[in-house]
Symmetry: C2
Subunit: 158 residues, 2 copies
Amino acid sequence: MRMGEGVEWGLHCCVTLGWLSDEAPVSIRRLAGWFDLPQEYLKKRLQALAKAGILTSSPGARGGWSLAGPPERITVMDVVTALEGATDAFRCAEIRQRGEGGRGAGQEFAHPCGISVVMRGAELAWRRELASHTIADLMARSPSGAARARRNYLSMPG
Amino acid sequence: MRMGEGVEWGLHCCVTLGWLSDEAPVSIRRLAGWFDLPQEYLKKRLQALAKAGILTSSPGARGGWSLAGPPERITVMDVVTALEGATDAFRCAEIRQRGEGGRGAGQEFAHPCGISVVMRGAELAWRRELASHTIADLMARSPSGAARARRNYLSMPG
DNA sequence: GCGCGTATACTCGGATAGTATTTGTCCGAGTACAGGGGG
DNA sequence: CCCCCTGTACTCGGACAAATACTATCCGAGTATACGCGC
């Protein structure tokens, strides 16, 4: 069970854009250059964030990406679900109903099976934890030099 | 981010074996038949559970699988980590240190980045939740008929 | 009855193939800005 | 001076290719039980 790399990319980009929210939008080229990421694929991930309403993109020259809202209102979970999808990691295939186990099925399967209940509960705890942190939190927690360095590089002309 | 199907299989098998712990070990053929699962692949997953010390297997005729310990002492998390590996779903690739961002690196990266801290915390909450439920819990929560039906089928000769 | 050989029913582990998902790249099209030339 | 036209720097979206998981199957080998056969 693995989470895509795009999540790390997306979160770092959100933090970065949070620091530069008072400036012009930042192009993919700049963001990819800062983190040394494949530009085209990063674009795809950011597009997913835009579709979820987390980022906005402006086309044309001097266009680029910026946060769609204040960093305090974007949670880590928002980013994760935008990039990884809203479906749970554990998907109950109801194997208890298949094969011989499902033959003489009575009321037996009216209730969801305990396994999926436990799994759902665990993912809920996970989501809750992710939802309790915002981009603003991440910005505040980062070393002070990081924001400055990024301003210099990413708002530099060229 | 998706969890392998083997987790559902493994948990159902553990519950089933818990119900049959007083009987002879159960063969793969029986288990696969009960849930209608691919026999050879199920075997692989159960072997992973055996390697983790959750199941024991006995070779030879009338051999098969059984729980290695009392169901109260096997947590759902034990099963999940045995099947999915112990590594976190989120793996921090430290992209903050790459590209232009890593050029003038000072003490900046001495502390782990806030993103991985948040992610780790969330997975911890997830694991904690999984660890709080045991196979015995799942057995108790299942409809009473299920245990009976399984005894009939799986301990039946042939 | 006892011992031996054989058939049977399992597991073990490696090798391999198929499929789905993730990651990465490419290209044509649209959009905004900037600058230059003609009116 | 103003308008249009073109070049440039972006994004959008689809199509495609590569890499990596995940799922599934196959096979030779080992091991314990069951059974029958000869002694």
